[in-house]
C-alpha cells in the first residue's frame, strides 16, 4: 500500500498543527462556533448527540496491520474502546473531546493517518472497490488513481469551499463494487477502441434528499488528462452549483437543471479552454512511483484448489457455511479474499472493538500480507489469503467473535448510526437493524433466501444508502414518533437503480414482521432457488411485495 514520503508526512503534520491552532482559538473564544464549524468539519470533527465525533480518513478503504492497531489505540486512549466503520470506507470515533483532538491527530500522523477532508464542502475521501487488486474482472487496479486523486484534491485552493460536499469513487472496471453511479463523480477504468486504458467519467449521481443515478459525461478520458478533466468538472460545479439552498447544492441538481447535454457542454468547453499552462502536470515517473506501491504481492505458485481447505470444509459445517458466504474468489488460483463481517447479531452494524481491530490486524499480518480493506458495506476484507490458510483464518476470526457467516445476506445490513448517535437523525437505525437480524437469525432461513442487500438510514441524508438497497428502510419522524418507510428495488452496482417507496411508514416494532412477510412472499414467487430477491422483484414488479409488506399482521 502507499507509504507517505517526506512531502505527504510533512503536510499531515502541518495540518495537525494548523488544526491545533484552530481548536485553541475556538476554546479561547477567538473563533465563534459558527466560523469554527466549517473548519472542524474539513478536518472530520462533528458535534453529535452526545459528544464530538472524529471521522478518520481511510483513503479508498486501505489499511494495514499497523494502521488498524493505531486506530485501536486511539479507541482505547481517547474513546470507549470501539470505532464505527462507515459506508465511505472511513472510521468514526464517537466520544472524543475537542480538547484531546490535537493530540489524537498528532498520534494519527505517527502512523500515517489523518482526518483531512473527511467532511465539509470539499472533495471528500476517495472511495473504491474493496477487492481492488484481487478481482478477476478488473481492467486494472484502481488504487493508484485513487491515491493520485487523493493527493490532487488535498487542500486544493480552488475547491475548498464548494457549494456542498463532493464524493469521488473509482472502480477498476468489471463489476461495480464501489457504487460509482451514485457518487458526484464515478470513474470506471476501461479500454478505448485502441485498447488504451483510461476512464469513463460518470457525474451527478448521489443519494440524500434527491437521489439520482449519475450520467456518463465522457465515454473515455486518457490517464494523463484525468486530473485536468476533473478540474474542469469541479470548476463548472464551483461556479455554477447552487448556493442559495443547501438542499439543492449538490452537483446532481446542477446536472439535472442543465440537463445531461447542457452540463456536458459546459464541462467540455471548460476543458477545451484550458491553456497548456493550466493543465495538471503529472509526470509518468510519478505515476510509476505511486503504482509501484500497489504492485501485487508475490503469490506462491499454488494449486487452484486446496486439499486442506476442502477437507476442513467437509468436517466443519460452520466453516463450510461461512466459506460459502464470506470467502470470495481471487484472480490468482489458490487464493481467496475473505470478508470479515462486522454485522454480528445484535451489535451496531460496522462497529468493531479495539480488541477486534487488533485481532484482525494480527490475522492480516500473519495470513494476508497485512492487506486489509474497509468495504462500503461496513465490513472488512482480507484481500489476499492462501486457500490453505482459510481454515486457520476462520478459527482465529471465530476466537475474536468475527466469524459471522452472513456476507451479502439479509443480516449483513448497512446502517447509519441513526438517532442513537447522530445529530441529524430522525429515527434510530441500529435497533431496527438488530430487530431484523433477530427475525432472520435462523441460518437455514438465511441460506434459503440468499443474496439480499438491506440498507437503513435514520434520516433523509441517506448515510445508510437506503435508496440503493434491494430493500431500503428510511427512518422518519411523525409527530415525535419513529416511523420507517420501506423502499424496494434499489441497487448500487453497474445496474444502479434508486429504490421506490412502497407506501406509508411502519412502526419500529412492525418492520421486522413486515419484512418477514415480504421475504416469505419472495420464497414462494421466485422461479428457482437461483433467482435472487432483486431478480424476482425486477421480474414481477413491487406489487406483490408491497401487498406482503402491508399484509395482515
Amino acid at each position: 500500500m502507499y507509504r507517505y514520503d517526506e512531502f505527504d508526512e510533512g503536510l499531515v503534520r502541518q495540518r495537525a498543527r494548523q488544526f491545533r491552532g484552530q481548536v485553541e482559538r475556538r476554546l479561547a473564544g477567538e473563533l465563534p462556533e459558527e466560523h469554527f464549524k466549517p473548519l472542524r468539519l474539513q478536518n472530520g470533527v462533528y458535534l453529535q448527540l452526545h459528544a464530538y465525533m472524529l471521522r478518520v480518513a481511510i483513503p479508498y478503504g486501505q489499511l494495514d496491520g499497523a494502521k488498524l492497531r493505531g486506530l485501536a489505540e486511539i479507541a482505547d486512549r481517547y474513546d470507549k474502546r470501539y470505532g464505527h466503520f462507515t459506508t465511505r470506507q472511513n472510521i468514526q470515533f464517537n466520544w472524543i473531546r475537542l480538547e484531546d483532538m490535537p493530540e489524537v491527530l498528532d498520534r494519527l500522523a505517527d502512523f500515517g493517518m489523518h482526518a483531512i477532508q473527511t467532511s465539509g464542502n470539499c472533495i471528500r475521501n476517495v472511495t473504491s472497490d474493496p477487492f481492488a487488486g484481487a478481482g478477476a474482472d478488473e481492467v486494472e487496479d484502481p488504487r493508484p488513481w485513487c491515491e493520485i486523486i487523493r493527493q490532487w484534491s488535498t487542500f486544493h485552493p480552488e475547491f475548498s469551499h464548494l457549494p456542498r460536499k463532493f464524493k469521488i469513487a473509482v472502480s477498476g472496471g468489471g463489476h461495480d463494487r464501489a457504487a460509482i453511479r451514485v457518487h458526484d463523480i464515478g470513474l470506471d477504468l476501461k479500454r478505448n477502441s485502441e485498447g488504451e486504458i483510461g476512464f469513463e467519467v460518470i457525474c451527478g449521481g448521489g443519494l440524500g434528499r434527491t437521489p439520482h443515478v449519475g450520467v456518463t459525461v465522457r465515454e473515455w478520458i486518457s490517464k494523463p488528462d484525468l486530473l485536468s478533466y476533473l478540474e474542469a468538472i469541479m470548476r463548472v460545479y464551483n461556479r455554477h452549483g447552487r448556493r442559495d439552498n443547501k438542499y439543492k447544492a449538490r452537483i446532481k441538481i446542477l446536472v439535472n437543471e442543465l440537463g445531461e447535454a447542457g452540463f456536458r457542454k459546459l464541462v467540455e468547453e471548460e476543458f477545451a479552454a484550458q491553456h497548456e499552462s493550466e493543465k495538471v502536470v503529472l509526470p509518468q515517473t510519478e505515476i510509476n512511483r505511486i503504482e509501484a506501491y500497489f504492485a501485487p504481492p508475490v503469490f506462491d505458485a499454488a494449486l487452484p484448489t486446496s486439499e486442506i481447505f476442502d477437507a476442513a470444509r467437509k468436517t466443519d459445517k460452520s466453516l463450510d457455511r461461512w466459506a460459502r458466504h464470506n470467502v470470495r474468489p481471487h484472480k490468482i488460483p489458490g487464493y481467496a479474499s475473505i470478508l470479515v463481517s462486522l454485522k454480528p447479531l445484535g451489535a451496531p452494524p460496522g462497529d468493531a472493538t479495539s480488541d477486534q481491530m487488533r485481532a484482525i490486524a494480527d490475522i492480516a499480518d500473519r495470513y494476508a500480507g497485512g492487506d486489509i480493506r474497509v468495504a462500503h458495506e461496513q465490513d472488512l476484507v482480507l484481500t489476499h489469503v492462501r486457500l490453505d490458510d482459510v481454515p486457520s483464518v476462520f478459527a482465529a476470526l471465530q476466537a475474536a467473535g468475527l466469524a459471522t457467516a452472513n456476507g451479502g445476506l439479509i443480516t449483513d445490513i448497512i446502517a447509519c448510526p441513526g438517532l442513537d448517535y447522530c445529530n441529524l437523525a430522525n429515527a434510530r437505525s441500529i435497533s431496527v437493524a438488530n430487530s431484523i437480524q433477530e427475525a432472520f437469525s435462523d441460518p437455514n432461513l438465511e441460506d434459503l433466501i440468499g443474496r439480499l442487500h438491506l440498507n437503513i438510514s435514520g434520516c433523509i441524508n441517506a448515510c445508510g444508502h437506503h435508496h440503493v438497497g434491494h430493500i431500503g428502510i428510511l427512518g422518519v419522524d411523525k409527530k415525535g414518533e419513529e416511523f420507517y418507510q420501506v423502499l424496494f428495488g434499489g441497487r448500487a452496482d453497474e445496474r444502479a437503480a434508486i429504490g421506490e417507496i412502497a407506501g406509508p411508514g411502519l412502526r419500529h416494532e412492525d418492520i421486522a414482521p413486515a419484512l418477514k412477510r415480504v421475504v416469505e412472499r419472495y420464497l414462494v414467487l421466485r422461479s428457482s432457488p437461483e433467482e435472487t430477491f432483486i431478480d424476482t422483484l425486477e421480474r414481477l414488479g413491487q406489487a406483490p411485495f408491497r401487498e406482503a409488506l402491508y399484509g395482515a399482521s
Binding site: A51, L98, L424, R428, G480
Partner: protein, 106 residues
C-alpha cells in the same frame, strides 16, 4: 448541515441545552446561568425570560456550543415531539446501556 429543532411557542415550558465546547458533553443552563450536566438542574422557563436566557447562552461560546430550546414539563421532565432525541442525549445510546450518562460515563 445543522439540524433544525422544532419551534416552541412562548408559553411552552422549556430548558436550554447545548454541548460543552471543550468536551462535547451534553449540558443544560441552570438558574444561576451556569451549565450543568444534569437535566434535573436545568432552569425551566417560558416567554421573555427564556428568550433572554437563550440570548445569553448564544454569547457564552467558550462554555457552550449550539445552545437551543428543548421542551420540558413544568417539573423539568423531557416532553414534546423530540422526547426520544432528548432522552437519548440525556442518557446515552439506546443500544448500549454502558455508554453515555446512563453508564456513569468517562
Amino acid at each position: 448541515m445543522s439540524s433544525e429543532r422544532p419551534k416552541l411557542g412562548p408559553d411552552i415550558p422549556k430548558a436550554i441545552t447545548g454541548w460543552n465546547s471543550r468536551t462535547g458533553r451534553v449540558i443544560y443552563l441552570t438558574a444561576d446561568r451556569n451549565w450543568s450536566e444534569s437535566l434535573s438542574e436545568a432552569c425551566v422557563m417560558t416567554g421573555d425570560e427564556a428568550q433572554e436566557a437563550l440570548r445569553f447562552a448564544s454569547t457564552d461560546q467558550v462554555r457552550v456550543s449550539d445552545p437551543y430550546f428543548m421542551q420540558v414539563t413544568q417539573d423539568g421532565l423531557i416532553s414534546g415531539r423530540e422526547t426520544l432525541r432528548e432522552t437519548i442525549r440525556a442518557r446515552g445510546p439506546t443500544n448500549h446501556p454502558m455508554f453515555g450518562k446512563q453508564g456513569g460515563d468517562l
